[in-house]
Structure formats: C-alpha cells, structure tokens
C-alpha cells in the first residue's frame, strides 16, 4: 500500500464516520455503553500515541533526553495555562535547544 492509498482510505473513512453519526437513528446514543465508550476511547488512543512518539524509535524503546525535555516544557506550559500554540512552541524550542547543546 503506497502512502497515497493510505491517505485516500483515511479521507474516505473519516468522512464516512462523520456522516454515519449525523445520519444514524437517535436511539443508538441512548445506550449508556456507547456514550461511555465514546468518551473513553480517544483518551486511551491519544495517550498511547504520545507514549509511542516520545519513547520509541524504529520498533524499540528509546530514551531521548531532548524529547523528554520538550515534553517537560509542554507540561510546564500546560500547568501555567498557556494557550495551545504556546504549548507546542515551548515543546519544540526546548527540544531544539537540548539538541543544539548536546550536539
């Protein structure tokens, strides 16, 4: 599968998922398990994505001090209630600085 096919599949699939919700019969949402699943799934998936992108490389676990510092900067920015873009910028700038300092 080439990257373009993956992109096409994702575009079609994401649109179908959105439309399915708008077009579905309302009683589906009344099921408490569906509501609860909807609330919980993104949390587990996003946390897993964060972990994999920060702590692994090429199929193995890897501890990268620069990425750790960037994560720390993002956490500090979030604790200070910084706006979304400031959080992202803080993470990138600190990661870059550590990479420059450690060569």
């Amino acid at each position: 599968m080439t990257l373009w096919w993956a992109i096409a599949a994702l575009c079609a699939g994401c649109y179908a998922l959105k439309l399915a919700g708008l077009a579905a019969p309302q009683r589906v949402l009344e099921h408490p398990a569906v509501r609860r699943f909807a609330e919980l799934v993104p949390v587990a998936l996003l946390a897993a994505l964060i972990a994999v992108q920060l702590f692994t490389e090429e199929g193995g676990l890897r501890f990268d001090p620069a990425r750790m510092a960037g994560l720390g900067a993002a956490v500090v920015a979030l604790l200070l209630r910084a706006p979304f873009l400031v959080v992202l910028a803080a993470a990138a700038v600190i990661t870059a600085l550590v990479r420059i300092l450690t060569g």
Partner: protein, 220 residues
C-alpha cells in the same frame, strides 16, 4: 433581541475557536513534512480528512516507519469519536439532503464543543457554521504554510518539530486528565500497553491495542 445576542455570541465563539485552533495547522503541516509526506499529501489530508488527531496519528505512524495499514486503522479509530459527535449534533442541526453531506465534513471536536455550548438550537447552528468555516479556511491555509516552510529545512528534527505532534495530543487531553482520576489511570494504562507491545508488534498496532485499556475501565 435576545435571539440576536445569542447569535452574535455564537459567531464570536466560533471565530475565536476557529482562528486559534486553525493556526495549529502550521504544526500539522510541519509534522507531516517532517514525517516524510510531500506538501500536496499534507494539504490533501487537511482538505479531505479535516480531523486533526487522525491526521497527526497517520503522519506520526508514517514518521516512525510504521505499517501503513495499521497506521490508517489507528487514525480511523481516532476518527470514530466524530461519529458519536454526529449523533449528538444531528438533533441540534436538523440538516437533510445535500446540506447534511456538507455539514458532515464539519463534525469534529471544536465544532461540537462550540455548538453544544450555545443556549438555543438556532445559535447552536450558527456556532457550528461559523466554527466550521473559520477553522476550515485557517487550518488549510496554515497546513500549506507549515508544510511548504518545513520543506525548505534540511533537518526538521533539529528544530524540535518531532515533539509537536505529541505535545498537541497532550494539550488536547490535558483538561480531561486534570478533572478525572479514572481518565488518568486510563491514559497511563493505554500508554503502558503501547510501550510494552512496541518491541513485538508492527508500528501502529501497539496504539490500536491500547484501546483494550478502555474495556478494563468499563468492566470495572
């Protein structure tokens, strides 16, 4: 008069959220090119997928050298929450026919948040339309700018752009984690499952496996 006030508040909310969140398309464009996507590929994703978490998920997995099928499935699973937003919005928006086909593309985190925060169904519809339009335009323009700008850099990792995706996810999760111990446990479990599975499974699959943490929390 009150109706007009509600509607102008919805317009203000919609523009505020649309412009602020839309700017993070810069981060997506940069992350996509860093991961190895071309500028047109990054732009097509923003134009036609138009749901940030899934876009970041696909590019993150591609950047990690992941299996494309697993990467696409993981990104689709993240897009599944838009189905549940759609279920809630259907009642408010009451759109039919061709207008429903257009409105469906705008069913995402931000439009749902703005619509559900409005006091009347009319202002909810206004909030949805304004958030969708302003976010769509901003997100796509900044994706192009971020992707094009990054394509001129020799080594984007030197600028720390590889942590922008994870930092964006953390910022999205943060308000929910701050409020609930259960969600913090779930997040920690999801992260632990993915890390433990990484040495043994194809890239992309460990993230899908993390959804199993939800079943544990739901059964408890």
């Amino acid at each position: 008069m009150e109706q007009t006030t509600h509607r102008s508040a919805a317009v203000r909310d919609g523009f505020g959220v649309g412009l602020a969140v839309g700017l993070s398309g810069l981060a997506f464009g940069a992350a996509a090119v860093t991961a190895g996507l071309s500028v047109p590929q990054a732009c097509v994703l923003s134009l036609l997928t138009f749901t940030g978490a899934s876009q970041f998920a696909l590019t993150g997995a591609v950047g990690a050298g992941g299996d494309l099928v697993a990467a696409t499935l993981g990104a689709l699973l993240l897009g599944g929450r838009n189905t549940l937003y759609g279920l809630r919005l259907a009642d408010l928006l009451k759109v039919r026919g061709p207008r429903r086909l257009l409105a469906a593309h705008g069913v995402i985190d931000e439009t749902t948040a703005v619509s559900l925060a409005q006091p009347t169904s009319e202002s909810a519809r206004t909030g949805f339309a304004v958030t969708f339009a302003s976010l769509y335009v901003t997100w796509n323009l900044t994706t192009l700018a971020g992707a094009y700008g990054t394509s001129f850099l020799g080594d984007p990792d030197m600028l720390g752009l590889d942590v922008v995706g994870p930092a964006a996810f953390l910022a999205i999760l943060w308000p929910r984690l701050a409020k609930s111990t259960e969600l913090r446990v779930l997040a920690a479990a999801g992260a632990a499952i993915a890390l433990c599975a990484t040495p043994f499974l194809a890239p992309g699959v460990p993230v899908l496996l993390a959804a199993a943490a939800v079943l544990v929390v739901m059964v408890r």
